[in-house]
Amino acid sequence: MKKIINAVDQVENQMIEGMCKAFPQYVKKLDAGNIVVRAQKKEGKVALISGGGSGHEPAHGGFVGKGMLDAAVAGAVFTSPTPDQVYEGIKAIDSGAGVLMVIKNYTGDVMNFEMAGDMAKDMDGIEVKQVVVNDDVAVEDSTWTTGRRGVAGTIFVHKIAGALAETGASLDEVQAVAQKVIDNVRTMGMAIKPCIVPAAGTPGFELADDEMEIGIGIHGEPGVKKAKLETADEIVDQLLEKILADIDYAGSEVAVMINGCGATPLMELFVVNNRVADVLADKGIKVYKTLVGEYMTSLEMEGFSITLLRLDDQLKELLDAEADTPAMTVI
Protein backbone atom coordinates (compact mmCIF):
# COMPACT_ATOMS: atom_id res chain seq x y z
CA MET A 1 0.00 0.00 0.00
CA LYS A 2 1.28 3.44 -0.97
CA LYS A 3 -0.64 6.45 0.35
CA ILE A 4 0.04 10.05 1.30
CA ILE A 5 -1.05 9.87 4.92
CA ASN A 6 0.47 10.31 8.37
CA ALA A 7 -1.16 7.53 10.35
CA VAL A 8 -3.93 5.14 9.42
CA ASP A 9 -6.02 6.09 12.46
CA GLN A 10 -5.68 9.82 11.82
CA VAL A 11 -6.78 9.92 8.16
CA GLU A 12 -10.43 10.83 8.74
CA ASN A 13 -9.70 13.39 11.41
CA GLN A 14 -6.94 15.14 9.47
CA MET A 15 -9.04 15.11 6.29
CA ILE A 16 -11.90 16.89 8.07
CA GLU A 17 -9.53 19.39 9.70
CA GLY A 18 -7.89 20.07 6.36
CA MET A 19 -11.22 20.59 4.63
CA CYS A 20 -12.36 23.05 7.29
CA LYS A 21 -9.06 24.94 7.12
CA ALA A 22 -9.42 25.19 3.34
CA PHE A 23 -12.98 26.49 3.42
CA PRO A 24 -13.46 28.44 6.68
CA GLN A 25 -15.95 30.72 4.94
CA TYR A 26 -18.23 27.70 4.40
CA VAL A 27 -17.66 25.09 7.08
CA LYS A 28 -16.38 24.34 10.55
CA LYS A 29 -15.82 21.14 12.52
CA LEU A 30 -17.66 20.44 15.76
CA ASP A 31 -15.54 19.62 18.80
CA ALA A 32 -17.70 16.52 19.34
CA GLY A 33 -16.15 14.65 16.40
CA ASN A 34 -15.80 14.50 12.63
CA ILE A 35 -18.94 16.53 12.09
CA VAL A 36 -18.88 19.36 9.56
CA VAL A 37 -21.48 22.13 9.90
CA ARG A 38 -22.01 25.46 8.13
CA ALA A 39 -19.69 28.22 9.35
CA GLN A 40 -22.75 30.40 9.88
CA LYS A 41 -25.79 28.53 11.10
CA LYS A 42 -28.94 29.61 9.28
CA GLU A 43 -31.86 29.92 11.68
CA GLY A 44 -35.52 29.29 10.94
CA LYS A 45 -35.18 26.69 8.20
CA VAL A 46 -35.40 22.93 7.99
CA ALA A 47 -31.87 21.60 8.51
CA LEU A 48 -30.41 18.81 6.38
CA ILE A 49 -27.91 16.29 7.70
CA SER A 50 -26.20 13.56 5.76
CA GLY A 51 -23.01 11.60 5.99
CA GLY A 52 -21.56 8.15 5.86
CA GLY A 53 -18.15 6.61 5.85
CA SER A 54 -15.13 8.70 4.88
CA GLY A 55 -13.39 8.07 1.57
CA HIS A 56 -16.13 9.59 -0.62
CA GLU A 57 -14.74 13.13 -0.71
CA PRO A 58 -15.95 15.68 -1.55
CA ALA A 59 -19.06 13.89 -0.20
CA HIS A 60 -20.41 14.73 2.19
CA GLY A 61 -18.64 17.62 3.92
CA GLY A 62 -17.98 19.33 0.60
CA PHE A 63 -21.71 19.80 0.13
CA VAL A 64 -22.28 21.64 3.39
CA GLY A 65 -23.26 25.24 2.74
CA LYS A 66 -25.94 27.50 1.37
CA GLY A 67 -28.58 25.67 -0.66
CA MET A 68 -27.39 22.17 0.27
CA LEU A 69 -26.55 20.50 3.59
CA ASP A 70 -26.36 21.95 7.09
CA ALA A 71 -24.22 19.13 8.48
CA ALA A 72 -22.23 16.13 7.28
CA VAL A 73 -21.02 13.41 9.62
CA ALA A 74 -17.96 11.40 8.64
CA GLY A 75 -17.34 7.90 9.97
CA ALA A 76 -14.19 5.85 9.56
CA VAL A 77 -13.29 5.08 5.93
CA PHE A 78 -16.30 3.33 4.34
CA THR A 79 -17.88 2.82 7.76
CA SER A 80 -21.07 4.51 8.86
CA PRO A 81 -20.67 7.15 11.56
CA THR A 82 -21.93 6.18 15.01
CA PRO A 83 -25.28 7.32 16.51
CA ASP A 84 -23.70 9.65 19.07
CA GLN A 85 -21.88 11.53 16.31
CA VAL A 86 -24.98 11.91 14.12
CA TYR A 87 -26.92 12.98 17.22
CA GLU A 88 -24.39 15.76 17.93
CA GLY A 89 -24.80 16.95 14.34
CA ILE A 90 -28.60 16.99 14.59
CA LYS A 91 -28.50 18.99 17.81
CA ALA A 92 -26.06 21.51 16.35
CA ILE A 93 -28.11 22.32 13.25
CA ASP A 94 -31.70 22.23 14.49
CA SER A 95 -33.23 25.68 14.80
CA GLY A 96 -36.75 24.60 15.61
CA ALA A 97 -37.98 23.84 12.08
CA GLY A 98 -36.90 20.20 12.21
CA VAL A 99 -34.15 18.10 10.68
CA LEU A 100 -34.17 15.87 7.61
CA MET A 101 -31.66 13.01 7.58
CA VAL A 102 -30.51 12.00 4.08
CA ILE A 103 -29.33 8.40 4.52
CA LYS A 104 -27.74 6.18 1.91
CA ASN A 105 -29.28 2.71 1.94
CA TYR A 106 -26.76 0.59 3.81
CA THR A 107 -27.71 -1.56 6.78
CA GLY A 108 -25.24 0.22 9.06
CA ASP A 109 -26.01 3.76 7.90
CA VAL A 110 -29.74 3.27 8.31
CA MET A 111 -29.36 1.77 11.80
CA ASN A 112 -26.92 4.41 13.06
CA PHE A 113 -28.89 7.36 11.69
CA GLU A 114 -32.23 5.98 12.94
CA MET A 115 -30.81 5.50 16.44
CA ALA A 116 -29.47 9.08 16.35
CA GLY A 117 -32.85 10.38 15.15
CA ASP A 118 -34.59 8.55 17.99
CA MET A 119 -32.14 10.04 20.50
CA ALA A 120 -32.79 13.59 19.22
CA LYS A 121 -36.55 13.03 19.29
CA ASP A 122 -36.65 11.39 22.72
CA MET A 123 -34.08 13.46 24.57
CA ASP A 124 -34.36 16.87 22.91
CA GLY A 125 -37.81 16.91 21.33
CA ILE A 126 -36.33 17.69 17.91
CA GLU A 127 -38.57 16.86 14.97
CA VAL A 128 -36.51 14.47 12.83
CA LYS A 129 -37.54 12.84 9.56
CA GLN A 130 -35.55 10.82 7.08
CA VAL A 131 -35.23 9.68 3.50
CA VAL A 132 -33.22 6.69 2.34
CA VAL A 133 -31.46 6.99 -1.02
CA ASN A 134 -31.31 3.77 -3.08
CA ASP A 135 -30.38 4.75 -6.63
CA ASP A 136 -28.05 1.91 -7.62
CA VAL A 137 -29.71 -0.21 -10.33
CA ALA A 138 -26.86 -2.75 -10.29
CA VAL A 139 -28.44 -4.36 -7.24
CA GLU A 140 -31.72 -6.23 -7.40
CA ASP A 141 -34.47 -4.49 -5.51
CA SER A 142 -36.66 -6.54 -3.24
CA THR A 143 -38.54 -6.04 -0.01
CA TRP A 144 -36.88 -9.22 1.28
CA THR A 145 -33.35 -7.94 0.99
CA THR A 146 -31.31 -4.96 2.09
CA GLY A 147 -32.31 -3.48 -1.26
CA ARG A 148 -30.40 -1.12 -3.47
CA ARG A 149 -27.43 0.94 -2.38
CA GLY A 150 -27.37 4.69 -2.14
CA VAL A 151 -24.62 6.03 -4.41
CA ALA A 152 -23.90 9.17 -6.48
CA GLY A 153 -27.58 10.07 -6.94
CA THR A 154 -27.46 11.17 -3.29
CA ILE A 155 -25.83 14.42 -4.43
CA PHE A 156 -28.98 15.37 -6.36
CA VAL A 157 -30.98 14.79 -3.16
CA HIS A 158 -28.64 17.15 -1.27
CA LYS A 159 -28.92 19.76 -4.02
CA ILE A 160 -32.67 19.73 -4.53
CA ALA A 161 -33.90 19.15 -0.97
CA GLY A 162 -31.32 21.67 0.24
CA ALA A 163 -32.59 24.27 -2.22
CA LEU A 164 -36.18 23.80 -1.07
CA ALA A 165 -35.19 23.97 2.61
CA GLU A 166 -33.43 27.27 1.92
CA THR A 167 -36.79 28.80 0.83
CA GLY A 168 -38.29 28.16 4.26
CA ALA A 169 -40.39 25.16 3.22
CA SER A 170 -41.71 22.82 5.93
CA LEU A 171 -40.06 19.57 7.01
CA ASP A 172 -42.82 17.58 5.29
CA GLU A 173 -42.31 19.50 2.04
CA VAL A 174 -38.53 19.06 2.13
CA GLN A 175 -38.92 15.35 2.88
CA ALA A 176 -41.41 15.02 0.01
CA VAL A 177 -39.14 16.65 -2.56
CA ALA A 178 -36.18 14.56 -1.36
CA GLN A 179 -38.31 11.45 -1.87
CA LYS A 180 -39.34 12.72 -5.32
CA VAL A 181 -35.66 12.91 -6.28
CA ILE A 182 -35.08 9.39 -4.93
CA ASP A 183 -38.05 8.07 -6.91
CA ASN A 184 -36.65 9.56 -10.13
CA VAL A 185 -32.90 9.03 -9.85
CA ARG A 186 -30.96 5.96 -10.99
CA THR A 187 -27.23 5.22 -11.05
CA MET A 188 -24.88 2.48 -12.16
CA GLY A 189 -21.11 2.28 -11.89
CA MET A 190 -18.08 0.28 -12.96
CA ALA A 191 -14.39 0.12 -12.11
CA ILE A 192 -11.16 -0.88 -13.77
CA LYS A 193 -9.01 -0.65 -10.66
CA PRO A 194 -9.96 -1.24 -6.99
CA CYS A 195 -9.15 0.98 -4.03
CA ILE A 196 -7.33 0.23 -0.78
CA VAL A 197 -8.86 1.10 2.58
CA PRO A 198 -5.93 2.53 4.59
CA ALA A 199 -6.63 0.41 7.68
CA ALA A 200 -6.99 -2.77 5.57
CA GLY A 201 -3.92 -2.26 3.38
CA THR A 202 -5.16 -4.55 0.61
CA PRO A 203 -7.61 -3.95 -2.26
CA GLY A 204 -11.28 -4.92 -2.03
CA PHE A 205 -11.03 -7.00 -5.20
CA GLU A 206 -8.48 -8.02 -7.79
CA LEU A 207 -8.67 -7.26 -11.49
CA ALA A 208 -6.35 -8.34 -14.26
CA ASP A 209 -5.16 -5.71 -16.73
CA ASP A 210 -7.86 -6.66 -19.23
CA GLU A 211 -10.72 -6.96 -16.75
CA MET A 212 -13.39 -4.68 -15.34
CA GLU A 213 -15.90 -4.92 -12.55
CA ILE A 214 -19.47 -3.96 -13.49
CA GLY A 215 -22.01 -2.77 -10.94
CA ILE A 216 -19.61 -1.68 -8.24
CA GLY A 217 -20.74 0.20 -5.16
CA ILE A 218 -18.84 3.04 -3.55
CA HIS A 219 -16.96 1.07 -0.90
CA GLY A 220 -14.39 -0.83 -2.86
CA GLU A 221 -16.60 -3.88 -2.68
CA PRO A 222 -16.81 -6.15 -5.72
CA GLY A 223 -19.49 -5.45 -8.30
CA VAL A 224 -22.18 -7.73 -9.61
CA LYS A 225 -19.92 -9.22 -12.26
CA LYS A 226 -16.38 -9.30 -13.54
CA ALA A 227 -15.95 -9.01 -17.30
CA LYS A 228 -13.39 -8.43 -20.03
CA LEU A 229 -12.61 -4.75 -20.49
CA GLU A 230 -14.52 -3.14 -23.37
CA THR A 231 -14.43 0.26 -25.05
CA ALA A 232 -15.86 3.31 -23.29
CA ASP A 233 -18.87 3.33 -25.64
CA GLU A 234 -19.63 -0.34 -25.02
CA ILE A 235 -19.37 0.16 -21.26
CA VAL A 236 -21.64 3.21 -21.36
CA ASP A 237 -24.20 1.28 -23.43
CA GLN A 238 -24.20 -1.52 -20.88
CA LEU A 239 -24.69 0.78 -17.89
CA LEU A 240 -27.29 2.94 -19.62
CA GLU A 241 -29.26 -0.11 -20.68
CA LYS A 242 -29.79 -1.08 -17.04
CA ILE A 243 -30.63 2.49 -15.99
CA LEU A 244 -33.03 3.14 -18.86
CA ALA A 245 -34.79 -0.18 -18.30
CA ASP A 246 -35.49 0.68 -14.69
CA ILE A 247 -37.78 3.68 -15.07
CA ASP A 248 -39.40 5.18 -18.13
CA TYR A 249 -37.35 8.14 -19.25
CA ALA A 250 -39.01 8.39 -22.69
CA GLY A 251 -39.84 11.97 -23.61
CA SER A 252 -38.59 13.33 -20.32
CA GLU A 253 -35.88 15.79 -19.44
CA VAL A 254 -33.00 14.57 -17.30
CA ALA A 255 -30.04 15.77 -15.31
CA VAL A 256 -26.94 13.67 -15.97
CA MET A 257 -24.06 13.09 -13.58
CA ILE A 258 -20.86 11.43 -14.77
CA ASN A 259 -19.13 10.78 -11.47
CA GLY A 260 -15.47 9.87 -11.21
CA CYS A 261 -14.60 7.29 -8.55
CA GLY A 262 -11.41 9.04 -7.44
CA ALA A 263 -8.65 8.17 -9.90
CA THR A 264 -10.33 8.54 -13.27
CA PRO A 265 -9.03 11.36 -15.45
CA LEU A 266 -11.55 13.99 -16.52
CA MET A 267 -10.53 13.16 -20.06
CA GLU A 268 -12.08 9.72 -19.72
CA LEU A 269 -15.17 11.08 -17.96
CA PHE A 270 -15.75 13.38 -20.95
CA VAL A 271 -15.27 10.46 -23.34
CA VAL A 272 -17.98 8.70 -21.33
CA ASN A 273 -20.27 11.71 -21.43
CA ASN A 274 -19.83 12.00 -25.18
CA ARG A 275 -21.47 8.62 -25.60
CA VAL A 276 -24.08 9.19 -22.86
CA ALA A 277 -25.25 12.39 -24.57
CA ASP A 278 -25.47 10.67 -27.97
CA VAL A 279 -27.41 7.67 -26.67
CA LEU A 280 -29.87 9.88 -24.78
CA ALA A 281 -30.37 12.08 -27.85
CA ASP A 282 -31.05 8.96 -29.93
CA LYS A 283 -33.71 7.86 -27.49
CA GLY A 284 -35.40 11.25 -27.40
CA ILE A 285 -34.38 11.98 -23.83
CA LYS A 286 -33.51 15.64 -23.40
CA VAL A 287 -30.52 16.52 -21.26
CA TYR A 288 -31.36 19.57 -19.15
CA LYS A 289 -28.10 19.74 -17.24
CA THR A 290 -24.90 17.68 -17.06
CA LEU A 291 -22.42 17.40 -14.22
CA VAL A 292 -19.03 15.82 -14.93
CA GLY A 293 -16.50 15.41 -12.14
CA GLU A 294 -15.85 13.88 -8.75
CA TYR A 295 -18.85 14.07 -6.44
CA MET A 296 -19.02 10.70 -4.66
CA THR A 297 -15.65 9.00 -4.83
CA SER A 298 -14.31 5.70 -3.50
CA LEU A 299 -10.77 6.66 -2.46
CA GLU A 300 -8.45 6.01 -5.43
CA MET A 301 -10.77 3.68 -7.30
CA GLU A 302 -10.55 4.01 -11.05
CA GLY A 303 -13.96 3.95 -12.61
CA PHE A 304 -17.11 5.99 -12.97
CA SER A 305 -20.84 5.98 -12.49
CA ILE A 306 -23.66 7.37 -14.59
CA THR A 307 -26.63 8.96 -12.84
CA LEU A 308 -29.84 10.03 -14.55
CA LEU A 309 -32.43 12.15 -12.73
CA ARG A 310 -35.82 12.49 -14.38
CA LEU A 311 -36.94 16.10 -13.96
CA ASP A 312 -40.17 18.03 -13.69
CA ASP A 313 -40.58 21.81 -13.39
CA GLN A 314 -40.13 21.82 -9.61
CA LEU A 315 -36.97 19.72 -9.75
CA LYS A 316 -35.53 21.86 -12.56
CA GLU A 317 -36.11 25.06 -10.60
CA LEU A 318 -34.52 23.62 -7.45
CA LEU A 319 -31.60 22.17 -9.40
CA ASP A 320 -30.93 25.66 -10.77
CA ALA A 321 -31.36 27.41 -7.40
CA GLU A 322 -28.34 29.04 -5.80
CA ALA A 323 -25.89 26.79 -4.00
CA ASP A 324 -22.63 27.85 -2.45
CA THR A 325 -20.59 25.04 -0.91
CA PRO A 326 -16.96 23.90 -1.08
CA ALA A 327 -17.68 21.33 -3.80
CA MET A 328 -20.69 22.73 -5.65
CA THR A 329 -21.53 26.28 -6.62
CA VAL A 330 -24.59 27.23 -8.62
CA ILE A 331 -25.19 30.92 -9.31
Binding site: A76, S80, G108, M111, N112, V197, G217, E221, P222
Partner: protein
Amino acid sequence: MADVSKVIEIIKRIGADIEANKEFLTELDNIIADGDHGINMDRGFKAVDAIIPTFEDKDIGTILKQVGMKLLSTVGGASGPLYGTAFMKAGAVAAGKTEVDMNDFIAMLEAGIDGVVKRGKATTGEKTMLDSMIPALDAIKASYAADQDAKKALDAGVKAAEEGIEYTKTIKATKGRASYIGDRSIGHQDPGATSFTIMLKGIADLI
Protein backbone atom coordinates in the same frame (compact mmCIF):
# COMPACT_ATOMS: atom_id res chain seq x y z
CA MET B 1 -21.53 -19.39 36.90
CA ALA B 2 -19.89 -15.97 36.71
CA ASP B 3 -19.21 -13.11 39.12
CA VAL B 4 -17.99 -9.60 38.25
CA SER B 5 -14.34 -10.59 38.00
CA LYS B 6 -15.23 -13.53 35.73
CA VAL B 7 -17.29 -11.23 33.49
CA ILE B 8 -14.36 -8.82 33.27
CA GLU B 9 -12.05 -11.73 32.45
CA ILE B 10 -14.45 -12.79 29.66
CA ILE B 11 -14.63 -9.26 28.21
CA LYS B 12 -10.82 -9.06 28.18
CA ARG B 13 -10.63 -12.47 26.54
CA ILE B 14 -13.14 -11.48 23.83
CA GLY B 15 -11.11 -8.34 23.12
CA ALA B 16 -7.90 -10.36 22.82
CA ASP B 17 -9.54 -12.95 20.56
CA ILE B 18 -11.02 -10.25 18.32
CA GLU B 19 -7.59 -8.63 18.08
CA ALA B 20 -5.99 -11.98 17.23
CA ASN B 21 -8.61 -12.51 14.50
CA LYS B 22 -8.64 -8.93 13.22
CA GLU B 23 -7.00 -9.75 9.88
CA PHE B 24 -8.98 -12.97 9.46
CA LEU B 25 -12.34 -11.21 9.99
CA THR B 26 -11.33 -8.37 7.70
CA GLU B 27 -10.24 -10.83 5.02
CA LEU B 28 -13.58 -12.68 5.24
CA ASP B 29 -15.42 -9.37 4.92
CA ASN B 30 -13.20 -8.30 2.04
CA ILE B 31 -14.29 -11.28 -0.04
CA ILE B 32 -18.02 -10.60 0.13
CA ALA B 33 -18.39 -7.01 1.31
CA ASP B 34 -16.34 -3.95 2.23
CA GLY B 35 -13.54 -5.51 4.26
CA ASP B 36 -13.69 -3.67 7.55
CA HIS B 37 -15.31 -6.05 10.04
CA GLY B 38 -12.14 -7.02 11.90
CA ILE B 39 -10.83 -3.45 11.89
CA ASN B 40 -14.07 -2.03 13.27
CA MET B 41 -14.57 -4.74 15.91
CA ASP B 42 -10.97 -4.39 17.07
CA ARG B 43 -11.33 -0.60 17.34
CA GLY B 44 -14.46 -1.15 19.45
CA PHE B 45 -12.99 -3.73 21.83
CA LYS B 46 -9.80 -1.67 22.26
CA ALA B 47 -12.04 1.21 23.38
CA VAL B 48 -13.83 -1.20 25.73
CA ASP B 49 -10.48 -2.38 27.08
CA ALA B 50 -9.61 1.21 28.01
CA ILE B 51 -12.66 1.50 30.32
CA ILE B 52 -12.30 -1.95 31.96
CA PRO B 53 -10.51 -0.43 35.02
CA THR B 54 -13.77 1.40 35.86
CA PHE B 55 -15.74 -1.89 35.95
CA GLU B 56 -14.51 -3.42 39.19
CA ASP B 57 -17.02 -1.87 41.58
CA LYS B 58 -19.97 -2.14 39.17
CA ASP B 59 -22.69 -4.76 38.74
CA ILE B 60 -22.77 -7.05 35.71
CA GLY B 61 -25.73 -5.22 34.17
CA THR B 62 -23.96 -1.88 34.30
CA ILE B 63 -20.76 -3.36 32.93
CA LEU B 64 -22.49 -4.94 29.93
CA LYS B 65 -24.46 -1.76 29.24
CA GLN B 66 -21.25 0.25 29.24
CA VAL B 67 -19.61 -2.29 26.91
CA GLY B 68 -22.63 -1.95 24.60
CA MET B 69 -22.55 1.84 24.64
CA LYS B 70 -18.82 1.86 23.96
CA LEU B 71 -19.24 -0.52 20.99
CA LEU B 72 -22.13 1.59 19.71
CA SER B 73 -20.02 4.75 19.76
CA THR B 74 -16.81 3.31 18.33
CA VAL B 75 -17.47 0.38 15.96
CA GLY B 76 -19.68 2.05 13.36
CA GLY B 77 -21.12 0.25 10.35
CA ALA B 78 -23.82 -2.32 11.03
CA SER B 79 -21.84 -4.24 13.65
CA GLY B 80 -21.71 -1.26 16.03
CA PRO B 81 -25.48 -0.92 16.49
CA LEU B 82 -25.96 -4.72 16.39
CA TYR B 83 -23.35 -5.79 18.94
CA GLY B 84 -23.92 -2.57 20.91
CA THR B 85 -27.62 -3.38 21.16
CA ALA B 86 -26.89 -7.03 22.04
CA PHE B 87 -24.64 -6.11 24.99
CA MET B 88 -27.01 -3.41 26.23
CA LYS B 89 -30.03 -5.74 26.11
CA ALA B 90 -28.06 -8.48 27.88
CA GLY B 91 -27.03 -5.90 30.46
CA ALA B 92 -30.64 -4.90 31.09
CA VAL B 93 -31.43 -8.52 32.03
CA ALA B 94 -28.47 -8.61 34.44
CA ALA B 95 -29.25 -5.21 36.01
CA GLY B 96 -28.12 -5.03 39.62
CA LYS B 97 -26.61 -8.54 39.64
CA THR B 98 -23.07 -9.18 40.86
CA GLU B 99 -23.31 -12.84 39.95
CA VAL B 100 -25.22 -14.63 37.19
CA ASP B 101 -26.09 -18.31 36.85
CA MET B 102 -26.70 -20.29 33.68
CA ASN B 103 -30.42 -19.44 33.62
CA ASP B 104 -29.50 -15.76 33.82
CA PHE B 105 -26.95 -16.23 31.05
CA ILE B 106 -29.52 -17.87 28.79
CA ALA B 107 -31.95 -15.02 29.43
CA MET B 108 -29.18 -12.48 28.71
CA LEU B 109 -28.17 -14.23 25.48
CA GLU B 110 -31.79 -14.45 24.40
CA ALA B 111 -32.40 -10.75 25.07
CA GLY B 112 -29.20 -9.80 23.24
CA ILE B 113 -30.07 -11.87 20.19
CA ASP B 114 -33.62 -10.57 20.21
CA GLY B 115 -32.12 -7.08 20.12
CA VAL B 116 -30.10 -8.00 17.03
CA VAL B 117 -33.19 -9.42 15.30
CA LYS B 118 -35.18 -6.25 15.96
CA ARG B 119 -32.41 -3.74 15.24
CA GLY B 120 -31.28 -5.56 12.09
CA LYS B 121 -34.80 -6.45 10.96
CA ALA B 122 -33.31 -9.83 10.08
CA THR B 123 -33.80 -13.52 10.69
CA THR B 124 -31.95 -16.76 9.98
CA GLY B 125 -31.16 -17.82 6.40
CA GLU B 126 -30.00 -14.36 5.29
CA LYS B 127 -26.27 -14.97 5.80
CA THR B 128 -25.79 -12.86 8.90
CA MET B 129 -24.56 -13.27 12.48
CA LEU B 130 -28.02 -14.61 13.33
CA ASP B 131 -27.22 -17.84 11.47
CA SER B 132 -24.80 -18.62 14.29
CA MET B 133 -26.58 -16.81 17.12
CA ILE B 134 -29.99 -18.45 16.92
CA PRO B 135 -28.81 -22.08 16.52
CA ALA B 136 -26.32 -21.48 19.36
CA LEU B 137 -29.04 -20.17 21.65
CA ASP B 138 -31.32 -23.10 20.78
CA ALA B 139 -28.53 -25.61 21.39
CA ILE B 140 -27.56 -24.05 24.72
CA LYS B 141 -31.17 -24.06 25.90
CA ALA B 142 -31.77 -27.68 24.84
CA SER B 143 -28.54 -28.97 26.32
CA TYR B 144 -28.98 -27.14 29.62
CA ALA B 145 -32.61 -28.26 29.93
CA ALA B 146 -31.50 -31.86 29.42
CA ASP B 147 -28.33 -31.98 31.55
CA GLN B 148 -28.19 -28.85 33.76
CA ASP B 149 -24.49 -28.65 32.86
CA ALA B 150 -23.37 -25.10 31.99
CA LYS B 151 -20.04 -26.10 30.46
CA LYS B 152 -21.62 -28.81 28.33
CA ALA B 153 -24.38 -26.43 27.21
CA LEU B 154 -21.89 -23.74 26.19
CA ASP B 155 -19.84 -26.27 24.24
CA ALA B 156 -23.02 -27.36 22.46
CA GLY B 157 -23.66 -23.69 21.69
CA VAL B 158 -20.19 -23.23 20.20
CA LYS B 159 -20.66 -26.35 18.06
CA ALA B 160 -24.02 -25.03 16.79
CA ALA B 161 -22.49 -21.60 16.10
CA GLU B 162 -19.68 -23.23 14.12
CA GLU B 163 -22.23 -25.24 12.15
CA GLY B 164 -24.01 -21.95 11.57
CA ILE B 165 -20.83 -20.54 10.01
CA GLU B 166 -20.67 -23.57 7.71
CA TYR B 167 -24.32 -23.01 6.80
CA THR B 168 -23.62 -19.38 5.83
CA LYS B 169 -21.18 -20.68 3.22
CA THR B 170 -24.04 -22.45 1.44
CA ILE B 171 -26.45 -19.53 1.16
CA LYS B 172 -26.73 -16.24 -0.65
CA ALA B 173 -26.69 -13.04 1.41
CA THR B 174 -29.95 -11.10 1.42
CA LYS B 175 -29.09 -8.71 4.25
CA GLY B 176 -26.09 -6.47 4.77
CA ARG B 177 -23.49 -5.38 2.25
CA ALA B 178 -22.74 -8.94 1.14
CA SER B 179 -26.20 -8.95 -0.45
CA TYR B 180 -24.95 -6.60 -3.18
CA ILE B 181 -22.87 -9.28 -4.82
CA GLY B 182 -25.79 -11.71 -4.97
CA ASP B 183 -24.86 -15.28 -5.90
CA ARG B 184 -21.16 -14.44 -5.64
CA SER B 185 -21.58 -14.47 -1.86
CA ILE B 186 -22.26 -18.23 -1.94
CA GLY B 187 -19.25 -20.30 -0.89
CA HIS B 188 -17.97 -17.75 1.62
CA GLN B 189 -18.62 -17.65 5.34
CA ASP B 190 -20.27 -14.70 7.04
CA PRO B 191 -17.88 -12.46 9.04
CA GLY B 192 -20.57 -11.55 11.61
CA ALA B 193 -21.41 -15.19 12.29
CA THR B 194 -17.68 -15.74 12.68
CA SER B 195 -17.11 -12.90 15.15
CA PHE B 196 -20.07 -14.06 17.26
CA THR B 197 -18.68 -17.60 17.33
CA ILE B 198 -15.29 -16.25 18.46
CA MET B 199 -17.02 -14.44 21.35
CA LEU B 200 -19.09 -17.46 22.40
CA LYS B 201 -16.00 -19.65 22.29
CA GLY B 202 -14.22 -17.22 24.59
CA ILE B 203 -17.10 -17.45 27.07
CA ALA B 204 -17.24 -21.28 26.84
CA ASP B 205 -13.47 -21.58 27.43
CA LEU B 206 -13.62 -19.53 30.62
CA ILE B 207 -16.69 -21.14 32.25
